[in-house]
Symmetry: C2
Subunit: 274 residues, 2 copies
Amino acid sequence: MSTEHLLAQILAKRSFLCIGLDTDPQQLPAGLQGEEDPVFAFNKAVIDATHHLCVAYKPNTAFYEAGGSRGWASLERTIAYLNTHYPDHFTIADAKRGDIGNTSGRYARAFFEGMDFDALTVAPYMGRDSVEPFLAFEGRFVILLALTSNPGAFDFQTLPCGTEELCLRVLRQSREYSHPERLMYVVGATKASYLSKVREVVPDAFLLIPGVGAQGGSLEEVCRYGMTDGVGLLVNSSRGIIYASQGEDFAAAATKAAATLQMEMAAILKAAGL
Amino acid sequence: MSTEHLLAQILAKRSFLCIGLDTDPQQLPAGLQGEEDPVFAFNKAVIDATHHLCVAYKPNTAFYEAGGSRGWASLERTIAYLNTHYPDHFTIADAKRGDIGNTSGRYARAFFEGMDFDALTVAPYMGRDSVEPFLAFEGRFVILLALTSNPGAFDFQTLPCGTEELCLRVLRQSREYSHPERLMYVVGATKASYLSKVREVVPDAFLLIPGVGAQGGSLEEVCRYGMTDGVGLLVNSSRGIIYASQGEDFAAAATKAAATLQMEMAAILKAAGL
């Protein structure tokens, strides 16, 4: 996948929606419990019901690891299904990995080669040599945590470190890594006012924005401060879409919730002349 | 597991050695390739050959994830084997996880309930609410990344943030989390001179020290600056032990390499009057 292809998808679909597949085995509709792999069955139904309204899918690995090797197999089936049936979608493993160089290389192989994800979220704390092994994979993207959507984001990420906050320092320093063109960043919607500062450091990079919806962030504010000429935004919604209904009509409810966001996005793109 | 029990094991075995099970499926002796689960067979042989010389085992999850759901199953078999046959050993999942609160809770369940590890390494960048869900599990430990052993540690971890370096700030702030008695910290052996500063902030906490051996850290220096009256150290060696020989004699070679470190540790404990 290239950013050009991603942008083309966004403009064609009038959507920069990413759907978070944070699928909790405990919260599945009763009708799926008889399936051989209920988590995959749920994901497949959600994907089939929403693919025309979004450009990206983002499973969070925690929800799959909680099921052990069986959970991991559900994740493998989900990404294989996406790559086979919806190859134009941008796929993100929200894994927040990062380790010493040779070990990061293993994670990179797990997610980029083993499972063929387009992108992986990576934590920046361990610095350059913990991130670059991921950037070595052509056509794959690192989405580096900059400013996350949770309350703890203010513990360290916004600490003044020298002349600027730590998260801005992370952004600035990462531009010197090899292949910065394969870097995107997580910036939480709950901190939309920070987006102007973020855009001063990374004017063109794609930002993955969690926190719209359940966590309280506003789509309109995010776009006001974060949108670029090349859109530059992937806005994620997880629970608001996949658990729009807890009943047997979950797929239809997911379509409806995704369509609501997609229509807002279409209006914003139009107003921006994109 | 309690820290008292861990300390009792250390004093009884005259060892504060942790063995890193960073098992690479590509680097296994030919004789194991016919096994149903060669990675587990290797780990089992290494564990059986070294358990009397160490107090902890630490598989790094990257090496297992690289094998997908099959690799994850090898990890499950390894921790089950440890818990069944060597329940007095302290088990650490070196996973460097961390996410928003409800998601960190999933990781905690995966590692503490699903696999029954005693401890998990956690990355601090996302702050308090990303760490506390792990601390909620009685008898389990979070080993928070403070100062890692890789070159990139100097990118952010040692940045002056206000009155002190970021890693010291991480240490200090973490003492205010709920259940700080369940916190340990990663401090790389390659930065032994930092250990005095670390001990000013966390005088008693256990430190997990990677980087002795292959990465160049010195055991003697680590102990000089980091050891407490209650030992307070777990020194990890991975490649130096598990790949002491690449041949069929790997288990015997692992025993020998572990014994060399254990004897050094015994001498250090004796000299310290412990």
